[in-house]
């Protein structure tokens, strides 16, 4: 299992772009030539697109899961000289990765990307990110003007943000301001750095992980690879079943994307599944262990405070976040404040030592449109803002999680409040779902809300599959969820006017006009499905019109008639 998932399409190949200290992986889509009237051919330049597949799509990669990915960051991290050896992770002793070197920051030294950014230092991680985000440079576009003449391959409509070039210095300044994060644990050297922030490409996350009910370690690694193939930017391992540490170790060593977790889930398992047995000490132990494994960001539900529970209890759907419900129950049982809130500074210190970023959980997100934007939700959001500031003061990179179920007309208020209350920290939302009645179609209900909120400023969207609310997603559901979210994210990038984000749409549309069917498939978000639906055709008419009169073909005549205009 592994490489064959990525090798199925000869028209998509892994290429590398060298820049400074980095060698950045990209995907190149090869196009077929256009046959001209006189019988000659016009070549069509390949289109370079953002690539999340890492070495998995590189034919020269060994593809052995037990060996893991190349450690492209090791040299960068070690050359900084600010880390020292840490204890090994005991719970993975039986795995192929048992003897791996573990690092932590030297005492008193700031080693996070935020620390560097504030100090004015551009890291190789920042350089890598800048090249990845630069779709214009990757495709050789130098005229970034939105008023480019029609009929060229580069038309970029003006978006809500002014198009700009993504330079390493711009990356640094956004990280320094807290408006973006580069989740990059020093113990995840296999990572290809990426950035989450509203002035960059919109990112998506895939949740994988087994539950006590179903699925094996192998299935989860396979889901990881499929989600990378379809373009997931980060992966959250939400395992609660057997072999949690071993599964996560295999995932991290083979994942070129940041890996996030909800440490509370493993802590609860370690407490025997009983909230009554859960303690700060167990949680702390899990946190350190996961940081040593290389987890890049932690979801921590520190904003679920005791004072919000009465409001949450009056809701139609109460608390639907698993982490939120665990903490609410813990608060009730112990008649104490949320220990994650109480120990926040210590949690920050642990995270800072490994450069683990935070994704401050929204434990009180609405689970029904009836509960949207209510007292409990917005009360927690303000606390999330306070926690952001405390994390920043300790050098920790941070983003905030957001809803949930929110009807369209109430989405903007979420974004506006988050920007204000959380001082522009990146917003990472689950949809939002714009209706409650779409069981089986909740990937679409949430993609509608997700596209809107990302356009308005959310930096990352957590995917939702068609099985949401109904059962655990299988491989096919992961594919549907990831591709649907890539679409929502891309729609938001067009709407924001991200530099050259429209280039691929333009290439696709030209392929349509010229009946280059294979190019249409390969430029699509899901080439395999497009090819499955379209078939291997050569017709110069579309299937809706049929051969007798095709509007696309009629265009040739119309264009010819006015070619002298």
């Amino acid at each position: 299992m592994g490489k064959e998932i990525f090798m199925s399409n000869p028209s998509r190949r892994r290429v590398y772009q060298e820049s400074g200290r980095t060698r950045v992986g990209m995907c190149e889509v090869l196009l077929t030539p256009t046959k001209l009237k006189d019988g000659s051919y016009r070549e069509n330049s390949p289109v370079r697109i953002y690539d999340t597949s890492g070495a998995w799509s590189d034919p020269s990669f060994h593809g052995d899961i037990s060996l893991g990915l190349p450690k492209i960051r090791s040299e960068w991290i070690e050359s900084r000289g600010d880390t020292e050896a840490d204890e090994p992770v005991k719970s993975v002793e039986g795995t192929p990765f048992a003897g791996r070197k573990i690092l932590r920051a030297k005492t008193g030294v700031g080693i996070t990307q935020l620390d560097f950014a504030r100090a004015g230092i551009i890291t190789p991680e920042m350089e890598y990110v800048a090249v990845r985000e630069n779709l214009a440079a990757a495709n050789g576009i130098d005229d970034m003007s939105p008023d480019c003449p029609r009929n060229s391959l580069f038309i970029q409509h003006k978006g809500s943000e002014v198009p700009r070039e993504i330079t390493p210095e711009f990356v640094r300044s956004e990280v320094a301001a807290g408006r973006a994060i580069i989740p990059a644990n020093i113990n995840h050297p296999e990572l290809e750095p990426m950035i989450i922030g509203r002035n960059f490409l919109t990112k998506i996350n895939t949740n994988i992980g087994n539950s006590a009910l179903a699925s094996s370690k192998e299935e989860e690694v396979e889901k990881l690879l499929w989600s990378l193939k379809w373009g997931s930017d980060t992966v959250m391992d939400l395992s609660t079943g057997r072999e949690i540490s071993e599964t996560r170790e295999t995932i991290i060593r083979n994942c070129p994307a940041p890996v996030g977790t909800v440490p509370l889930y493993q802590a609860l398992e370690r407490a025997g599944g009983m909230v009554e047995n859960l303690t700060w000490e167990i949680f702390r132990e899990v946190l350190v262990e996961q940081a040593r494994q290389g987890v890049d960001y932690f979801t921590i539900h520190a904003g679920v405070l005791r004072k919000f529970l009465p409001a949450a209890s009056r809701r139609m759907c109460g608390i639907v976040s698993r982490g939120g419900a665990i903490m609410a129950k813990w608060i009730l049982h112990n008649d104490s404040e949320n220990f994650l809130y109480v120990h926040w500074d210590e949690i920050c210190e642990i995270a800072a030592r490994y450069d683990v970023a935070f994704s401050i959980g929204d434990g009180l997100r609405p689970g029904a449109v009836a509960d949207a934007n209510d007292e409990a939700q917005f009360g927690e959001l303000k606390v999330q803002g306070e926690l952001c500031k405390r994390a920043w003061s300790r050098g920790v990179q941070v983003m905030c999680e957001g809803p949930g179920h929110v009807p369209m007309q109430m989405i903007s208020e979420n974004m506006e409040n988050q920007l204000e209350w959380c001082s522009e920290a990146p917003f990472y939302t689950l949809g939002p779902l714009v209706s409650d009645i779409a069981a089986g179609y909740d990937h679409i209900s949430s993609a509608i809300g997700g596209a809107i909120i990302a356009w308005k400023g959310a930096a990352m969207l957590c995917y939702v599959t068609p099985k949401e609310h109904l059962s655990l997603p299988g491989k096919g559901d992961v594919r549907t969820g990831v591709v649907t979210y890539k679409l929502a994210a891309h729609a938001a990038d067009l709407a924001k006017g991200h530099p050259a984000s429209q280039y691929r749409d333009n290439a696709m549309s030209l392929a349509r006009v010229e009946f280059r069917w294979e190019d249409q498939y390969n430029l699509s978000l899901d080439p395999d499905l497009a090819r499955e639906f379209g078939g291997s055709k050569r017709e110069r008419h579309c299937s809706m019109c049929g051969p007798r009169f095709c509007s696309m073909r009629a265009n040739d005549e119309i264009r010819e008639a006015f070619s002298s205009d």
Copy 2:
């Protein structure tokens, strides 16, 4: 074939609500009781939802396609005494419907719903519509205040429009103002009247129809029934293949929803498929024939003027509308102005005699995001506005068609211009698709744009299936397209704050909280798929969390802890 498509779910039943001269069909979703702590049960009231299935879901209906649906409007139409017998439709002579009585307006008499509305007359059609739209009354909700207490089954967030009651007088006034249409050909007595306007529930249309390439009459009727089952509000028959008239006759006689066509398609077939042979006379003949058959609205591409062709020819994707391309080619070949524009007044007179509404085609809609909101598109939209006024002056009900491919940030401009230039005539859009690269997922790309534009004021959305741009949709694609669009339309209704549109979401969310799985399935937009994904379960935990700790179950404890608050 027929009834069995509708009879699969015993928890959804057809009910009738009597009001004035009308007996309005609705769908009642039966819910299971809730088991309380003390072991007793609380009954849950059935939820009434808008129903498009007509008599097909009524167990007492004969279900014979060759006999057609009950003619519920015949008495209304005849009692008005303003019609006379017209010639039969020759091309359906071989069908079971050959001897059917055909009506037309008496000379000089205005018989359209617009004529009546302007004269201050409330027709049974208007009464029918008012009952259908009144989800609050149907569910016994009398407190329409948006500040209804939490935890009740009726929470309705404030939308962009102020909630109001839908009375017959309100329906009349909206039709009179041209802000809404009731497409209801006097030769379609089987119709259950419905309304298209932005101050009503958002409607969706399904395209069916064979092409020269594929599919039979039986397949198309089956697609019709499936689309009604999943909730399509109107159906467009876009057939271009064999037996066009016979297929349409069978569709209309069995369709409780308005049927729309693009008469130009049949005219082109009658001209041997050659644009060169197409004439106004052929078109006129087709128009009259289809009006006599009972087509409720005509798409007519009268806004594609010669002066817009140079701009269209400079586009990335040229003209992608089939009707638009036909007319452009005709204009070029004949070196004349569009005959639909030239003969507009005569077309209006034909339509007025049968009360056929117009859907003024957007032949120059953009087929790529690169072409969105350009000179050709907006030039035509202004002409659509002129054509609206001319139609109104002859008593014809009218709506305008809209795009197409438009990135999110450019959608609002479409809606604003349409409202202004077309004097608030209803806007009927195809999506819009918010990106070009989603082949295989274009139902989602367009549902994102569709939800947004309907929220902003579009009255009806034309569905898009996953096969868009790739091949002709099959039955399963029709289902996916229709359900996806019902979702987009419903999301828009929530966002507009349509009275009691949130009632069903609330019922769904309560069913979730109480683990009433069957109720969740039956309240969903697609109960069959939800049940297929969810399985027949009785667990009091959700599949994401598993049995050990479930956030929904934890809510019971939290709610109990604060029940005295």
